[in-house]
Amino acid sequence: MTCTDVEQLLGAFVDTELPPPRLLDVARHAATCSACDGAIRELTELRASVAALLESETRQLDLSGVWPAVDAAIARQAPARPRLTALRGGGAPGATRIGAALMAIAATALLLFRPATQQQPGKPMTVASAGRAARSSNDAGIDRIAGRGITMRREPKTGTMIIWVASAAGEGAR
């Protein structure tokens, strides 16, 4: 196995996606080649830093306000409750359940067969459409990444990810 072979298999090796004999071949080569060993270590560290970045982003999520907000929303809707109770009390319980089931089916059908709001196939996408897309969720996950001088940043609101690559004259990321 040559250094070129290892370079091709580097990502899969670090992700342990190679079949065992191939994994062993790469490991054997790395044991005798400092350059490949260094590349493997570098990629492993990068992978760890990506994992750490994602973990820290997850930790930064502040969910403490969720339940108070839910409680507040329920409290705001409290005056509407007696009517529902009255409806339940006045009508046959079976009829209410059937009504609820029908509403659930209708909602599911609406969800499944709602008109497409995204780009139609064949219709040219424009920068403006990319802009609309940028306003929606752009969440991206990184399974593997290789390269030198890479930094990543994610916009929290839409999850848009930017992967910065330093070029010869320095860094572009702010």
């Binding site: 196939p121 996408m125 990319a130 802009g131 940043r153 910065w164 690559v165 572009g172």
Partner: protein, 180 residues
């Protein structure tokens, strides 16, 4: 007669599903190249995106350099020329959990700047930023990559069409059967 109308419905539905399946084997890719700078005018086409780009990249002015859109086949490598000897090489691998799984390589000549496997939400956009460049002395190049698989919504549309066309498709068959 009921059997015949049922059979015709099955045939029509199968045809529609096959047609939907054949149409579904593609992915729409849009690659937009943008030049970012500290100062200068902003491209009107990018004006709406400027606040978001500013947050992401930190620059004030953005100029559209190029835009390419292609319909690519799954598991086929596709190369987008970005100019200046750079290219973006994509290998769409498949869909999982409403995300487009693909390998993305950003090359400068034969040099590999980035090689990554990403899971981008269907219809979502991700950005690659190339840092300060000696050739332009200032600013950066942004590459906006958008991927959309139309399979889910196409199938949904086809299913809806199949349901809507059921009475129309089956009635003539019924009348023919009845005439015999």
């Amino acid at each position: 007669m009921k059997h015949a109308s049922g059979a015709s419905f099955v045939v029509v539905t199968t045809f529609l599903l096959i047609a939907a399946g054949a149409h579904a084997q593609v992915l729409d890719i849009q690659v937009t190249t943008v030049r970012a700078a500290d100062s200068g005018p902003c491209d009107p086409q990018l004006e709406a995106m400027r606040p978001r780009l500013r947050k992401l990249a930190g620059y004030r002015a953005y100029q559209l350099v190029g835009e390419q859109q292609r319909r690519v086949a799954w598991r086929n490598t596709e190369e987008f020329d970005l100019g200046d000897g750079r290219s973006l090489v994509l290998l769409p691998k498949g869909m999982a959990d409403e995300r487009v799984m693909m390998q993305v390589r950003l090359l400068e000549g034969r040099r590999r700047l980035v090689d990554t496997n990403v899971r981008l939400v269907n219809g979502g956009t991700m950005v690659f930023g190339l840092g300060r460049d000696a050739r332009t002395a200032d600013g950066a190049t942004l590459i906006l990559l958008r991927a959309q698989d139309n399979r889910a919504q196409d199938n949904r549309a086809q299913n809806t069409r199949a349901r809507v066309s059921r009475p129309q498709d089956s009635q003539p068959q019924d009348s023919q059967q009845g005439a015999r």
